[in-house]
Amino acid sequence: MLFKNNEPAGLISNIQKYTIHDGPGIRTEIFFKGCNMRCLWCSNPETIDPSPQLGIYPAKCLSLAKCGYCVKICPLVGHSPLVHDKDGTISSIRQSAECKNCLKCADVCPGRAIKLWGELMALSELMAIIEEDRSFYERTGGGVTLSGGEVMLQWEFAAILLAKCKEASINTCVETALNCPAAHMEAVYEHTDLVITDIKHMDAKKHLQITGAGNELILKNIKRTVDLGKNLVIRTPVVIGHNADDTSIRAIGKFIRDELSGRIIQYQLLPYRKMGTEKYDSLCLQYPMSDYVPPEREIWEPEIKRLAAMLESEYGLPAVAGSGQKLPT
């Protein structure tokens, strides 16, 4: 586990207040950095790498002529990995063995053209931010949602943070892929009111292909979650070309009915809408689905609704389209 000022700490990529679709009510969502899967459609690529990272936003760069603070502060004088194009605008960061990731360039960049993804945050710092919106949680039955990245990769800290929230009477939710040892999961569950997880595909080989990981451990953990009596929401990001067909979706429905006895709160089918393109660009990463052209809302919306209705009628599941419908209490 990580520490900051002798306090347990987590590597956090982002904190989003007023999230309303990941658990009940108004929530503060905390994104943990680091992930052990590589889903082709990932829209939060900044949460994959388990260390702080620099993102580049050339549109915000003032140019070397007008600013140049980043190059001036870089300890690698004359061979800085910061690459600027002809007109002096930052364009990328070169892979460099010499770069010690000191992050000073991000620190001085006045316009945040160099943005730091990932900050080590102590328990007390996070609790202070979480507490700011307490009155909103109390009004709406909201609380905190831990998400990522993969929360379970920082399971010890997650468990401590959630315990602290429960101590403060704040509702807790964890969004996880469950690709982790059961012991980690169970430690986190001790202080978790609601679990949100995904089933991306029932076929293990296909799952490996599209997420970089098999699904055996995940499915086992999901079963264990139900056995433990946890409140569980299962989601499927519906991605055309990978799982947007009746057979794939029916297989998931069958698993939930037969293996989990349908004991989940809600099953959500989420349309994949290709977001986060600018984040891939900022990290100088290739979007695995860069060629994908998402269909118009007029096309996908009824299709997702049809799939939800299909699961509801054929498998008796509480299936819904999207994450906008209230969770049954």
């Binding site: 989003q16 207040k17 007023y18 009004r139 709406t140 977001m275």
Partner: protein, 844 residues
């Protein structure tokens, strides 16, 4: 139009809608035939196909009477003149109408008010034809144009505007609307005050006939041998002249309807016309006996206020409270059906939408698309005893908006801790349509802000938000709401630069009177070159603010005295409590409650600017005051890193639930309030500060050069009470909960003239059940925290961009602006850009 079909499908509208009916998210007016009533859809269509124009009839009669009755006391003169207008002006009843009455001009046609000002209009008619305007376009025929031009000479030197400006000193002109526009005090120089709600309760109870009897009785008891008795006697005589005109006007419609019925071949329409005739002939003197008669009297009585006063923001009261006794009785006796009353409400909305007020070429750049302006109508809230009043009509009024999707009336919903959840569900489903209607008020701080200015508790509980949002006791108040506005950001600039504008140069039209005369625009209260601490900055700001608030109050009072002298209002004096009782005209302080409410503009920008100064110059010492001034003089050219820094999240900006900046915002607001609140006005009562800009933030920003918060020269300042955004970025970065908390930290009880908080949500952020309920939860929490008001724009940014590209396709796109909603494509480009630039809260 991808964003127009966001979530729920909109099925056929129903005469009686289910409470939880959803109409979709962010679809605004982009829907065919929104009403279940064919008559309403037909009227909506007709309205859209009618050009906006002006009508000279009122102006011609007034001009003639002004000469004819010149020997009379002013009050009597105006009673005689208005009586003649009401007796002589052409009237019409239009196809399908069940409620009749016009503005002394046909629908979509603006009457002309030469007694206030006429030169600007004649100038535009000749040099800048009003049909060539890009927005707020008027198609005026040759005859009307010539009629208006023909009377211009007769008003030379006699108008209210000339009389007011004659009282200005050269020093006062420097910062006024005629000069550097630190202050905008001109709204009631060129037009009337408006901003009132008639005492409909009394009118409904006793009718105009009852008011006549009351006046006759009071008049008969006077000792006219005593000069005080004589003055009152003359006042009452004029009021009786006025009443003759009022009753005659309403009865004219009654007779016209009867004539039209006689000639009507269709039996159904004939019966309708006969009923309309009966309604008018009865309410010409009598008290209304059912819902239909009441809505007829309500409409025509309000029109006459506008015909008389040339004021906007003439408001319609608390509809559900006012009409419920009639509704209940008509249902109980089966006199009228609920469906028919729903149709009448929708009909009355279109009648209000047909009203027009013509504004000058400068006003329509920054305040475009207002149509009439300020046609406030509220529902919900508590009664005089603090009990919830929500009833069937509260729901029906909201459905009526969903069924018409027009930006009139300007709807307000009063919420409080006992508002039923069902009603809130209805309110927020209507809000999610995306027209920007209705806005919501929080009863507790609104009531507090009224009791703080001497309104008694039960009156305060009966408040309505007049015009945009101004707290006002209906039927009892002459509040001069919106009497001026103060450019806080400009004043901040003067306070850090020795009383001079940053970038002061000979190209400024005030240069000769100002620096050229060896003076400065404001007093020299210090400069960033020499301040030693942030306390000195605050002290300078405070002194500078006092100077300008004193100046504003003086100018508004000069304006007020001129209105008293030249433009008494005999009709309005009939229907606002206090005037008949005291025997004093409303303009001279007759009303039970009086006041005057100027606005602070740019609180967010000013707070951010001071916060940047505190942090960079005094806390961190990153730059010196002189360096910062230099960057501002250069409009940030050559100081790009500093510009980026002050716009970045490294600064403390208002709207992020950050006490560092929010405490400064509290200081900025308190400093303004301190120099305005409780000071006496010329017609009685106290000055009441307000914190909203409507669209003046664009105007005020246009005259302010670069400021330390990261604004460039000429950019709008922050709108209303909300956080700032510059052309670089939005300064609120932590989402809606942080904005709500920051705003709620301001001391709302002192804000006697109201606030506006604009929210802009992407449709996806409020869609679905959880989107709706979270929005309700957000507002409940903000209100629990003593937040005062909120209003919502739920139109996607891309929809607005598409509407700019394709205005023809988006003609019915109604959007929320500030105090009001309007058709997006009818707005000036400046205002369209400001709307698109506001922070959109999106959570994908």
């Amino acid at each position: 139009m991808t964003t127009t079909k966001t979530t729920t499908t909109s099925d056929t509208p129903l005469a009686i809608e289910p409470i939880d009916r959803e109409w979709g998210v962010g679809i605004s007016g982009l829907t065919e035939n929104p009403s279940p009533f064919p008559r309403i859809n037909k009227m909506l269509q007709r309205n859209k196909n009618t050009d906006t124009t002006a009508d000279a009839a009122r102006a011609l009669i007034i001009t003639e009477c002004f000469e004819k009755y010149a020997m009379h006391p002013r009050h009597t003169l105006w009673a005689l003149a208005l009586r003649e207008v009401l007796e002589r002006v052409p009237i019409n009843i239009w196809p399908d109408e069940l409620i009749v009455g016009e503005l002394a001009a046909p629908p979509n046609s603006a009457p002309i008010y030469p007694e206030f000002s006429i030169d600007w209009l004649c100038d535009e008619l000749v040099n800048l034809p009003l049909d060539s305007r890009r927005n707020d376009r008027y198609v005026i025929d040759e005859k009307t144009k010539n009629d208006i031009l023909s009377i211009q000479g007769k008003w030379k030197g006699k108008t209210l505007s000339e009389a007011t400006l004659a009282t200005y000193t050269e020093e006062e002109k420097k910062g006024s609307h005629l000069g550097a526009a630190v202050l905008l005090e001109d709204l009631y120089i060129y037009a009337g005050i408006g901003h009132v709600t008639a005492n409909y309760e009394k009118l409904f109870k006793i009718g105009f006939g009852g008011i006549r009897r009351e006046i006759e009785e009071r008049s008969s008891m006077l000792d006219i041998a005593h000069p005080d008795g004589l003055k009152k006697h003359q006042f009452y005589d004029a009021e009786l002249i006025m009443l003759d005109g009022v009753s005659a006007y309403i009865a004219r419609y009654g007779r016209l309807a009867a004539e039209m019925a006689n000639a009507e071949p269709d039996a159904t329409r004939r019966a309708e016309l006969l009923r309309v005739s009966g309604n008018c002939l009865h309410v010409a003197e009598g008290a209304p006996r059912d819902f239909w008669e009441a809505i007829q009297l309500w409409h025509i009585a309000t029109n006459m206020i506008i015909i008389e006063t040339n004021g906007h923001s003439v408001s319609y009261g608390r509809f559900d409270k006012l009409f419920y006794p009639y509704y209940k009785n008509d249902i109980a006796t089966s006199a009228l059906t609920r469906e028919f009353m729903q149709e009448l409400i929708e009909h009355s909305f279109i009648k209000i939408h047909e009203l027009r007020k013509i504004r000058d070429k400068n006003a329509i750049v920054f305040s475009s698309g207002t149509i009439m302006g300020g046609t406030a109508l509220d529902v919900g809230g508590v009664d005089e005893d603090g009990n919830d009043i929500t009833n069937d009509l509260s729901y029906m009024v909201l459905d009526a908006h969903a069924h018409t999707r027009i930006p009139n009336p300007w709807m307000g919903v009063r919420l409080h801790k006992n508002t039923p959840l069902e009603f809130k569900t209805k309110v927020f489903n209507v809000i999610r349509i995306g027209t920007g209607e209705p806005k919501i008020f929080n009863d507790e701080p609104m009531i507090q802000s009224l009791t703080n200015y001497g309104r008694n508790l039960s009156d305060a509980r009966n408040y309505i938000g007049v015009g945009c949002v101004e707290p006002s006791v209906p039927g009892k108040t002459y509040g001069w709401h919106d009497s001026g506005s103060v450019n806080l950001t400009k004043i901040m600039q003067l306070s850090i630069n020795g009383g001079k504008c940053i970038g002061c140069s000979a190209s400024c039209k005030q240069y000769a009177a100002c620096v050229g005369a060896g003076q400065t625009l404001g007093p020299d209260t210090g400069s960033l070159q020499s301040f030693h601490s942030f306390d000195e900055v605050m002290e300078s700001y405070d002194k500078q603010m006092k100077y300008w608030c004193d100046a504003l109050i003086t100018l508004i009072n000069k304006n007020d005295l001129t209105h008293q002298r030249l433009k008494p209002l005999p009709y309005l004096s009939l229907i606002i409590e206090g005037c008949i009782e005291k025997g004093i005209d409303i303009s001279a302080g007759g009303a039970t409650y009086n006041g005057s409410g100027p606005q602070a503009v740019g609180i967010g920008t000013t707070a951010d600017a001071l916060s940047v100064i505190k942090k960079l110059v005094f806390d961190d010492k990153t730059v010196t005051g002189a360096e910062l001034l230099e960057a501002l003089s250069a409009d940030w050219e050559g100081h790009e890193p500093l510009y980026a820094l002050v716009n970045s999240d490294r600064m403390h900006h208002y709207g992020n639930d950050d006490d560092y900046a929010d405490d400064i915002a509290r200081f900025v607001m308190a400093t303004y309030c301190k120099h305005i609140e409780h000071r006496p006005t010329a017609h009685g009562g106290e000055f009441t500060p307000g914190v909203y800009s409507v669209t003046n933030n664009v105007m005020h920003g246009s005259v302010v050069t670069a400021t330390p918060d990261g604004r460039k020269s000429g950019e709008p300042v922050s709108d209303c009470i909300g956080p700032a955004h510059t052309s670089c970025c939005s300064h609120d970065r932590r989402g809606p909960t942080a904005v709500a908390k920051s705003v709620a930290k301001l001391d709302h009880a002192r804000i006697g003239n109201g606030i506006i908080l604009n929210w802009k949500f992407a449709p996806s952020a409020v869609s679905g059940e959880s989107g709706r309920d979270s929005l309700i939860g957000l507002m409940d929490t903000y209100f629990e925290d003593n937040g005062m008001q909120s209003q919502f724009s739920i139109i996607g940014r891309e929809t607005m961009l598409a509407a700019q590209q394709n205005p023809e396709k988006y003609k019915d796109l109604v959007v929320r602006i500030a105090g009001y909603s309007a058709y997006f494509v009818e707005l000036s480009p400046e205002l369209q850009s400001d709307l698109i630039g506001r922070t959109e809260l999106s959570f994908d």
